[in-house]
Symmetry: C2
DNA sequence: TGCCATGCTGAACACATGGTCAGCCCTTCC
DNA sequence: GGAAGGGCTGACCATGTGTTCAGCATGGCA
């Protein structure tokens, strides 16, 4: 990804030297891993930006892989805590709820986005938890009359969750095309409004439902993917 | 990503030695770049799997970067051609339409999924084209009464497109959680059916719309992202 | 003051990476 | 038969990478 695809692309690059090296390294790693990916980010690059020597990175974290694990833990903990604080009861809010005005939010979300696509040992469990949470509050939403019942409640939650996470992964495309930054603080009014429209009024008319149902039954020439 | 997250994870690993090195290298590169990412895949790894020497890779393609460009072109061309063949008129079908029973489909889709998140020079243009296509046939759908009109037609298309692509990017999570493989030939009936339900009947009730509209107006403590 | 713990670094190591180079082998054409 | 072209490779090069190692500086405590 080219950095200018995001607004304020360099805003987080400066790391205060007042903080101990241990923390500076972690913060820098989250930033760079999130921007470039783990493999494309060298220990030397992290050290340089953090204002320390490369052996100090290894000294504090043991290895690059262990540093990456520490980043996972930090980011996932941050996101979990943020969600607990801003949880919306009963409405089945987005799976990720972070106050994007907090300094730490952007690099953490960017890191999550990158990690969602690159894979990471802890991530499956994290996504599983998001889905289980959403199953819980979506069921409450159905009970309280805010959410429509579904023939496949679990599948529905999984799909909605992965759509949402997928949008986060593609946040730079979203910014480019829609002008809204899913990991920043500019607001996502258009995204939210349009999503609400889709979820309230639907997308397909009844005519389309019938036409498509018939088409699905007879059209076996291709398996559509995405 | 751990390979076993996908069904038939090794199915495409064997490359026929009957084909010229030029083609074998390209096919192998698409496979490995899609599985591991470009940076994490060495020229030597590609050469070994293709059954050639590393200098031959460079001989034919000039550099690793040029090889990656050739992969982009091949995959995007394949997907464009597939879509042209299977285009569904008027219904606003998925942005990516590939016959997943074709041998080439899986590695191509996997490559696309990886490229969507890692970034690639040609990709923005490809996504733009998908969006423009979808704007066209969604408008036709509205005219023919198959698609509901929207207050933000363009935003709607962008979001639907990015959701769909995002689901592709997270295809391994989708397989793990829903049991359906968006890049394979096992079919995506549950995904399709549930998506249709969401798009036909919506998700939020009218009660929720009112409650959420009110909540959005007054709740300014956090910017929700995804 | 001396010792210990902590934070830190320059130099070096072993290995990996993309790429260069000289040259071999095979096929085709004159 | 000889030359040209294409496909191909072993050896090597320059550079980058994660990590080890020996040792310095500082602060706290007895």
């Amino acid at each position: 990804m080219v950095s200018p695809s995001e607004p304020g692309a360099e805003a987080e690059a400066a790391v205060s030297t007042v903080e101990p090296g241990l923390e500076r390294i972690l913060t820098t790693a989250i930033d760079l891993f999130g921007r470039q990916g783990v493999k494309a980010t060298s220990v030397r690059a992290i050290a340089e930006q953090a204002g320390v020597s490369p052996p100090l990175v290894i000294h504090h974290y043991g290895s690059k892989e262990r540093l990456r694990e520490a980043c996972d833990e930090r980011v996932l903990a941050f996101i979990r805590e943020s969600k607990a604080e801003t949880m919306r009861a009963g409405l089945g809010g987005p799976p990720i709820q972070v106050d994007t005005r907090v300094d730490e939010a952007r690099p953490a979300l960017r890191y999550l986005a990158r990690t969602l696509s690159e894979g990471s040992p802890r991530l499956d469990e994290f996504v599983d938890d998001l889905v289980e949470d959403a199953i819980g509050y979506t069921a409450q939403g159905v009970d309280s009359g805010l959410v429509r019942p579904s023939q496949n409640p679990r599948a529905r939650v999984i799909i909605l969750t992965l759509w949402s996470l997928g949008a986060l992964v593609l946040h730079e495309h979203m910014y480019r095309l829609l002008g809204e930054d899913l990991i920043g603080e500019g607001g996502t009014d258009l995204y939210t409004q349009t999503m609400l429209e889709l979820f309230s009024e639907g997308f397909l008319t009844e005519r389309a439902q019938q036409a498509f149902t018939f088409s699905t039954d007879t059209d076996d020439t291709s398996q559509e993917s995405a």
